[in-house]
Structures are given as structure tokens and as C-alpha cells.
């Protein structure tokens, strides 16, 4: 347990000191992008911990990205207010979608999340006057200076995202260890038994869904203000499925899993220097290999190796 904690914190430490060694903007950009998707993937993992499969997580990132951009550009709010509001707006939308769909058992929820994500994308495309349509929203301002730190280079973004990632990580670990997390996993293991001992399973599924989408909204808001641009092409079904793949490849058994998954899957194509078009093929191969050889995800690798040794 202690060892596991140590390994995840040493990971964060490496990320923290990395810019002291290199400030290559290309590398920083990759790390920031990976971090954005990690935060979203943590939300997916939380929703999956209640046994629900979401196929439209990118839509809640889009809602976060667009609402935060509009709040700053049209509403004149500071980024530091729009950022948490973006998360809250995503969570409220999740509540409205989850309330009618999570009371029905079965695959309906997954189908609705998928359909809703497409609806959101179409709304963005067909409302150019407000949301910029296909072309997207450009000139989204950078965050206002934080104390004396100005967001003019990649570095402040890098540390802002690291802070967001650490906060998300701590919240997720806390939920896992708390009674709330135990309730989530018991619904996953047997929803009928959970109901029979008095757990209102719909309520807890909605709570998990809203928290997961809250963090999607935050990561979407960061995304928009980091690239100063947002477009419906950023938030398609592919991105939703990538979030899912990050969780499955890294392993949903621990909070560290999605982090490992998103880093592994972002770095592999970079190291192999393959064209962006071939990325889905590489992901597919890795996903299939993991599912056959390591169903617990990368996170279960050390345990598997240790287990093999003792035989």
C-alpha cells in the first residue's frame, strides 16, 4: 500500500522536476495534452466504478470548453471564475442526462451518452453565431495572471495542469478509500444486493456520473484556454473512446491506472514516430494485447510478474 502510494507520488515528482531539465516546447506540449486527457479519463474511471459505461465523455469536455470560453469572452469573467463554473455546468448537464437514463438498468445509459455527445457536437456545428460552427471558437484569451505568473509560455500552463491533476488524483483516491467508493464498487459488483441492503443505486450512479463529468468540464476548460481555440473536431466519439481505452489499458483497479494508460498510449506513438493517422491502429493493437494478456491493465503488471516468480 505504502509502496504503491510512493510510486504514484514519485511519478508526480518526476513530472514536477522535468522542466528543470528540459523546456522543449514540443515535449511540454505533449505532457500537457496527456495531462488534460488523464483528468478526463479519471472521470471515466469513476463512472465505470459504478458499473456504467460512458461513450460520450468528450461531450462534457466540450461543454466545459465552450462554456468557459463564452463566460470569459462574452461574459467578461476571469478565467479563474469561469474555470470552476465550467466544471459545475458540465456536472449539471450530467445530472439532467443521468436522472432519466440511470434509473433504467442495462445498456440504455451507454447509448444515451453516445447519442447525447453527437447532439452536442451537432449543436456546436449548427450554431456558428454563438459557438463558431465548424471553424471553432478562436482567440480564447489566456488565463489572467495568477499573482505574478503570466501565462505567456508553456511553463505556467504546465504547472497549472499539474496542480489540477494532483487535486483530481487526491479527490479520486479519497473517494476510492471512503465509504462512497465502497458503495460505488458494491453497485458494480451486485446492484440487486446493493438495493436490498437499502442503497439507492440510482442516486449513487448519478453522483458518480456528475463528479466524473465535473472533472471533464474542468479539463475541457483548460483545453480551450491553453490552445486559445476550441472546435467540435476536438471532442468527437474518438476522444470519448480514447478516454475509455486509457482506463482499460492502464487499469481501472486503481486511480494510478488511467494516468499510466494515457502516458503509455501517448508516448508510444511519439517514440515510434508514426503518423497521426496510424494512431488508432496502434491503440487497437495495444488494447487487444492488454485485454488478452493483462486484463487488469498495465497497473497489474508488477503483481503479475511477482506472482509468476513465486511459482
Amino acid at each position: 500500500m505504502v509502496k504503491k502510494k510512493l510510486s504514484s507520488w514519485s511519478f508526480f515528482l518526476i513530472i514536477f522536476v522535468f522542466p528543470f531539465l528540459s523546456q522543449d516546447p514540443y515535449v511540454l506540449n505533449i505532457l500537457i495534452t496527456t495531462g488534460i486527457w488523464t483528468v478526463a479519463a479519471w472521470g471515466v474511471r469513476l463512472i465505470m466504478s459504478t458499473g456504467q459505461l460512458t461513450l460520450g465523455h468528450a461531450a462534457y469536455m466540450a461543454i466545459g470548453a465552450y462554456s468557459s470560453a463564452l463566460l470569459v469572452m462574452k461574459g467578461g469573467l476571469s478565467f479563474w471564475i469561469a474555470f470552476p463554473l465550467a466544471g459545475i455546468i458540465s456536472a449539471i448537464v450530467a445530472l439532467l442526462i443521468g436522472y432519466p437514463t440511470l434509473r433504467i438498468k442495462g445498456v440504455y445509459f451507454s447509448i444515451i451518452t453516445f447519442a447525447f455527445a453527437e447532439i452536442i457536437r451537432l449543436i456546436i456545428i449548427h450554431w456558428p453565431s454563438l459557438l463558431g460552427g465548424y471553424g471553432g471558437l478562436a482567440k480564447i484569451p489566456a488565463p489572467d495572471p495568477f499573482l505574478t505568473i503570466r501565462f505567456t509560455s508553456r511553463l505556467p500552463y504546465y504547472y497549472l495542469l499539474l496542480a489540477l491533476a494532483i487535486v483530481t488524483y487526491v479527490v479520486m483516491v479519497r473517494i476510492d478509500q471512503s465509504r462512497l467508493g465502497k458503495i460505488f464498487s458494491s453497485i458494480h459488483e451486485s446492484d440487486t444486493l446493493a438495493e436490498s441492503i437499502g442503497i439507492n443505486i440510482m442516486k449513487y450512479k448519478i453522483i458518480a456520473f456528475c463528479i466524473g463529468c465535473f472533472f471533464a468540464g474542468l479539463s475541457g476548460s483548460f483545453y480551450a484556454h491553453y490552445f486559445n481555440f476550441t472546435s467540435p473536431e476536438f471532442f468527437t466519439i474518438w476522444q470519448s473512446i480514447y478516454c475509455l481505452i486509457f482506463v482499460l489499458v492502464g487499469g481501472g483497479g486503481s486511480v494510478f491506472g488511467p494516468l499510466l494508460g494515457s502516458f503509455f498510449l501517448t508516448l508510444i506513438p511519439e517514440i515510434l514516430r508514426v503518423a497521426k493517422e496510424y494512431e488508432p491502429i496502434i491503440y487497437a493493437v495495444i488494447l487487444i494485447l492488454i485485454m488478452f494478456l493483462l486484463p487488469g491493465g498495465l497497473i497489474s503488471l508488477p503483481m503479475r510478474l511477482r506472482g509468476k516468480k513465486s511459482f
Binding site: 479519497r174 473517494i175 471512503s178 465509504r179 462512497l180 465502497k182 458503495i183 464498487s185 458494491s186 459488483e189 451486485s190 440487486t192 444486493l193 446493493a194 438495493e195 436490498s196 441492503i197 437499502g198 442503497i199 439507492n200 443505486i201 453522483i207
Partner: protein, 237 residues
């Protein structure tokens, strides 16, 4: 199901029997809120509970077990019990998340109560085992332990003796009697006729979704309709 109506007295054990497919489990699902009845009402302690959700019915003090083994398989025996105390938690969402003092007091009480129930059910020695690794008889016992965790007033047991050997069964029946003597009311579905006749004060017999008889074990054993339901009519033989 139709024309099924019966009452039961607090602090007694009611046996519910009938051939396979008679509707015993369906009746359980209706009483405990997993299936909505198309007509008719269910009253529990003078209160109409028809149409409530399973978790709301559990909250009223009516708990059930399942015919197939239904446990939180990847949790330990103790964790199963702790989760089962869900209704005793006196802490709100934020208490749970930040693990406040209120949540801690609540948790330590629940921990003690879980150990007490495990002791009572004879599961103390395996409290740190994963539920899926228990032998079948102990899994059944854990299923009942989970149902007991909310100190229910009425407990519906669905074939609790399945998979137990003679010695385990005898032990288990003794536990059920103790529970009844402590004031718990029980409905038991069971195929072991000898056990159910010895245990119950009253018996209700179902066949093809209808109640065909109700009475004391002696009355039921001599009821020709019941004998026919189980053995077929004499003429055919």
C-alpha cells in the same frame, strides 16, 4: 400470480412452500419491491409499501436474501458486512468524502456491529477472506449476515439451506430460532420439508402462482390439495 393473500404475526416464522415454478421467488420479488405488482397491496406494519423501490423497502426494516448466491464477491467478508450497514450510517455525503469526525464515530460503531453479526453467524474466522473464496455453505451464511446488518424487523429467506450439509443445516436452523426468539419475523422458502415443518409456526403453500393452502405444519401435511400438488393426483398414479 393471483389470489395470494396472507398475513403474518410479528415474531413468528412463516414457511412458504410449493413445487418448482409455483411463484415463491416471484412473490419475494414483489414484496421486496424488485417487481411491481399489477394489482393488490402489500402492507408492512400497518403501512402500505406497494410500489416502493427496493432500497426504500429495505429502509422500512424489510430485508431479503437471494436464491442464487448474491454477495459482493471481490470484497472481504468483513467489508461485505460493513457495506451492508449502509442504512446505519449517520453521515452525509461530505462527511463520507472528507472522513469527518461524525463519519469516524459512525464507522467504528458499524465495525463493531459487523464483527458481532459475523460472530453470531460463525464467520469470524474467515472475516478477511474474499467472499468469492468461501465454501458454498458459508457464502449462504454470509448472505443472511448481510441481510441482518440493518437489524431488520422482517427477513425473507430464499432457500437458505441449499448447499449446506446436514450438520450446517442443523446449526443454521438453530440460528434462525434464536433470531425469532429475539423478536425477528421471518418468511422462509425452503425445499427441505423436514426442516421447514419443524421450523415454521405456519405454512403457506403456493402452486401455479396461487395460494392453495395455509395452516399449521400438521394441517398442511394432511391437506389433500397439497399432497396432490406435490405428488400429482392419485388417479394419474
Amino acid at each position: 400470480m393471483s389470489e395470494v393473500s396472507f398475513e403474518l404475526e410479528a415474531g413468528t416464522i412463516l414457511g412458504l412452500i410449493g413445487p418448482n415454478g409455483a411463484g415463491k421467488t416471484t412473490l419475494y420479488n414483489i414484496i421486496s419491491g424488485f417487481l411491481p405488482p399489477t394489482s393488490g397491496r402489500i402492507y408492512f406494519r400497518g403501512e402500505d409499501i406497494t410500489g416502493l423501490r427496493p432500497d426504500q423497502i429495505a429502509q422500512k426494516g424489510l430485508r431479503r436474501t437471494f436464491q442464487t448466491t448474491n454477495l459482493f464477491k471481490n470484497k472481504t467478508v468483513l467489508e461485505n458486512l460493513i457495506i451492508a450497514h449502509h442504512l446505519q450510517v449517520r453521515a452525509n455525503f461530505w462527511d463520507l468524502l472528507i472522513n469527518s469526525a461524525r463519519a469516524k464515530v459512525s464507522e467504528s460503531k458499524i465495525h463493531q456491529s459487523s464483527l458481532d453479526i459475523l460472530q453470531f453467524m460463525g464467520l469470524t474466522s474467515m472475516k478477511d477472506e474474499l467472499a468469492k473464496n468461501l465454501p458454498h455453505g458459508h457464502q449462504r451464511a454470509l448472505g443472511v449476515a448481510i441481510a441482518l446488518a440493518a437489524s431488520p424487523q422482517l427477513l425473507l429467506l430464499d432457500e437458505p439451506l441449499t448447499g449446506m450439509n446436514a450438520e450446517e443445516s442443523a446449526q443454521f436452523i438453530k440460528l434462525l430460532r434464536t433470531l425469532r426468539d429475539q423478536g425477528l419475523t421471518l418468511i422462509v422458502v425452503e425445499h427441505d420439508m423436514k426442516a421447514i415443518m419443524g421450523l415454521s409456526q405456519r405454512i403457506v403453500v403456493l402452486n401455479y402462482g396461487r395460494k392453495i393452502a395455509e395452516g399449521s405444519p400438521q394441517e398442511i401435511q394432511n391437506n389433500p390439495q397439497v399432497i396432490e400438488a406435490y405428488l400429482g393426483s392419485e388417479r394419474i398414479i
